[in-house]
Amino acid sequence: MSQLTQALIEVEERLNSLLEEVQRLRPYVQSLEEENARLRRELCALPQQETERVIANAQQIQGVAHDNLERLYNEGFHVCHLHFGQPLEGGDCLFCTGFLMRD
């Protein structure tokens, strides 16, 4: 066998093994694409109405929370993260006031 023939055989073998590798990967790629499409569908499926309800709920909870914090502060306790729940001593706290006024 000439050297050239030998070289061609080696190239053919390498190409074959690459092809096998590609075939082995194909189902993985396919399942990832399917997963991606499914997640996109789910994301869009949430009706507009539902989204609005969730937002309104969150806002209401926030409002109640804010009122509660304000009450707690007016009763003489820190609501800032520095001293949350500790009694206010020596007057009002800048960080509590800053926090309550921000939202």
């Binding site: 800032c80 520095l82 001293h83 020596g90 007057g91 009002d92 706290c93 800048l94 960080f95 006031t97 800053g98 926090f99 006024m101 921000r102």
Partner: protein, 367 residues
Amino acid sequence: MKVNCSKDSLLTGVNTVLKAVSSKNTLPVLQGILVKAEDQHLIFEATDLEMGIRCMVPAHIEKEGVTVLPARIFSDLVRKLPEAPIELELENDILKINYYESNLSLRGFDPDEFPLLPDLNGEETFVLPVDIFKNMIRQTIFACSTEESRPVFTGCLLQIEESNLRVIATDTHRLAYRIAEISNPENCKFQGIIPAKTLNEIYRLLRDDEENLTIRFNEAQILFQFGSVVLLSRLIEGQFPNYKQVIPQSCQTKLFLNTRLFQDSVERASLLARDGNHPNIIKLSVESERLSIDQSSDLGEISEIMNIKKEGNDVNIAFNSKYLLDVLKVIESEEVLVEMSGSYSPGVIRPLDDPNYLYLALPVRTS
């Protein structure tokens, strides 16, 4: 050790380090001042382990040596020494101080027990302009808290960031903020809470004719070097609160006031604000172009009226007079701008001609 020096040199050394001597009854050696004769200098050192100060003064050294002397008695004696050539001589652990034909002797502690002051060589270094830094300390330090239970408020936050140097202090009832532009070609970055006690000492020791102050720092300590003094301090551990979120971005009332006239009015009114239930509370009321402070107590009453320039709403508001006086004392500008938003939001005070300083204080809620 055998040393010849002046009373002045001894006094300078002792007075410089004295505030670092431990006042607590911990290690006896910490209640002493280390005195070391080396290379034609006397070196003085004291530390309470939170802060350490080292100072070098010129002296004629015949024989090198080191001792630690009890601070109280040593400083009292030095103060009372005559203005004459003074000779120090250490034999075993007894220091003899000779002057004229008199002499006295003091028993020292073992210098090997005295803690070493780390010099933070190899740590990051930065040079600060003394005049700017001194003023920054003066305009902020009074807003620090003295309550040891909340350590982060017992110091000033020092920030070096790009070409900005910031010092901020708050006791949670008021906040002082000072920013200055500096040259920072190496882009040094620092952020740390420096104990008020340390800054007070630096302020006291920095002479006005000194131009620069070198700082060196790591995560836990900061070192200040100026003239022949080195001061090492621990940094206060903990997170300084986000001061930006408490600075109001808008206001409903703006007052333009003459600083000294306003200060005098507040001072007079505060003298009569000695009401047992609300000590030092003064009530300001702003109606069109008039600011009035009316105060009455068992002592008598006062009615201060100032004609002012105003923008925005009228307002009635009460402050702890100390919170106003503390800041008015450190503002040099002729006019101050006072910004308020109703009776419950923090009042902001700033010098009219200097955007680099800002102070805010919470009003007092009165019924």
